[in-house]
Symmetry: C2
Subunit: 321 residues, 2 copies
């Protein structure tokens, strides 16, 4: 199987869709995910196993998983907040589960109603469940509020690194860092990922950056410099209005892929086919804004992909919502 | 005099205003520039000495210069395209002139109606004029299309570096690189600024980055990593709609300052006072969009400036046009 320099993990179907009120009908989700896969995306977080009463937008996750695992070579992930969710995800057939654990005690109590150490204990139970039911399923943690918290403000870097060490000890396969609130800066990103790698080695995982203050791609570049090779992003920046306070503001997949390909780092993703996935997203959610500057500006004149291919067309779509 | 880690060179009054059709009345320009100065901006490109018939937006540059040079500690720059402009700028009392020279032969012929070598010869005459009339005035060149050209596509890196060497030999004090068309990527930015410094040493100047494809701040970070300490940017991204093809899309001053201050690099600029300058800009051009994500999202909870000061207020303005 061909290997690539960068792994773009598309989180739009989970993180994007849970952040908007509109519910995307299941057939549109399946089509969108197929289009992403056709564009070369190899990892998608397709939903979340939480009670439908809490997140009706993701109530169809089991069905979405069944479709996604039929796509050749795609790694299918789902977010699970607890043991019950982990069991449902494993039964649905996901390849990896990802668990949110907060580095901020204030955020952990407010959001997950558990202390960080109670979360670590619960993660340990989820790992045990995985070991029993489905040893081939990966268990990841995204450490949220790793770069700051809107409740407690600064989150000490030692807290983040110690939590990651506890999670690694609990048997988690991969631990990434999330800038949940868009507070990270490149110097901090470099420091934290460097420490993370020093402490948990190859278990150091993805960078999940937000573009709340415009620094999303700069923070991804900083993480790349520290050896991070998996980046979470959301097609069209779905779910976050970059111009609104408190917005989710995930890094835009299209711009992130453009950055790495232009740098000569192979993502395996075809930017023009990604525009077809973008059209599928827009058709599914005609009233939601779809962001991204590269799709608007088009590829640069003379652009070549990292693998040497020239694009088939040079101009972008104009589907700005 | 206090020294700072980063020099933010505000180009909005020249680059921003020349890119829009509305003419900002002179009193508004003077107020805007004063507010920028009060916020701690220490270098402003206040206008351009070109025929008023070509750029009526900048016809009052001499008057603007007279006001700007009265502001304590401010370095006042103007763009000049030719010998006549250089003479007018020197007579008006600017501290530095900046000359655009294109690295792309196609762009040079189309835009300046001269070959690159003819431009170098003209720059040599401008340096001679400066030496005679006003030896204290600095002469800078911003090498445009240094990272790609919408006419010829790729611009060979050797062309850029050789042109910079010729310009240094012609007596220019400082030579920066401009991503005129928003085509740069961080890997290229690092390669080119590294080569520039190898060839012309301390004469290596500013990074002038555009945000056309969302990579503006990532490219500034890449330039910073290579030792660049002066960055051109435009308040509110004035003059470029980041969502429109072919847009100017200068890096937004507010977001750039936030990035460096958050990284612990002292810009000398007060972000809250910068919002007052932003209000002055918005009042002067009520129908022009004013971009910037940090002003919309506000400063992060727990934010401290690089010099250790805490902000007076935490929330941003909501003056998004």
């Amino acid at each position: 199987m061909k290997s690539f320099n960068v792994n773009i993990s598309e989180v739009g179907p989970r993180d994007g869709l849970q952040s908007i009120h509109t519910i995307m009908p299941t057939p549109y989700k399946l089509l969108w995910i197929s289009r992403l896969h056709e564009a070369g995306v190899r990892e998608i977080e397709v939903g979340s196993f939480v009670p439908a009463s809490l997140l009706p937008q993701l109530a169809d996750t089991a069905e979405v998983v069944r479709h996604a695992i039929s796509l050749n070579g795609l790694t299918v992930m789902a977010l699970v907040p607890n043991l019950k969710g982990a069991q449902a995800a494993i039964e649905a057939g996901v390849h990896r589960i990802t668990i949110p654990v907060s580095a901020s005690e204030a955020h952990s109590l407010a959001n997950l109603r558990r202390t960080r150490q109670a979360m670590v204990a619960q993660v340990r139970e989820m790992v045990a469940l995985r070991n029993t039911l489905a040893p081939h399923v990966g268990v990841e943690v995204g450490v949220s509020t790793a770069f700051g918290c809107t409740l407690q403000g600064l989150v000490p870097e030692d807290d983040v690194v110690r939590l990651a060490a506890d999670l690694a000890e609990a048997g988690v396969d991969e631990i990434g860092l999330s800038d949940t609130t868009g507070m990270a800066n490149p110097a901090q990103v470099r420091r934290l990922f460097r420490q993370l790698r020093e402490v948990i080695g190859a278990k150091a995982g993805a960078a999940h950056m937000h573009n709340t203050r415009g620094l999303g791609l700069a923070n991804c570049l900083a993480a790349w410099d520290e050896g991070v090779r998996t980046f979470d992003s959301s097609m069209g920046g779905l779910g976050g209005c970059p111009f609104a306070p408190g917005a989710s503001g995930n890094v835009v997949t299209e711009d992130l892929v453009f950055m790495f390909e232009a740098m000569g780092q192979d993502t395996g993703i075809d930017l023009e086919k990604l525009l077809l996935a973008r059209e599928a997203l827009h058709a599914a959610l005609p009233n939601e804004p779809v962001y991204g500057m590269t799709p608007e500006a088009g590829l640069t004149k003379g652009f070549v992909y990292a693998d040497g291919r020239a694009p088939r067309a040079l101009s972008g779509s104009a589907s700005h919502g």
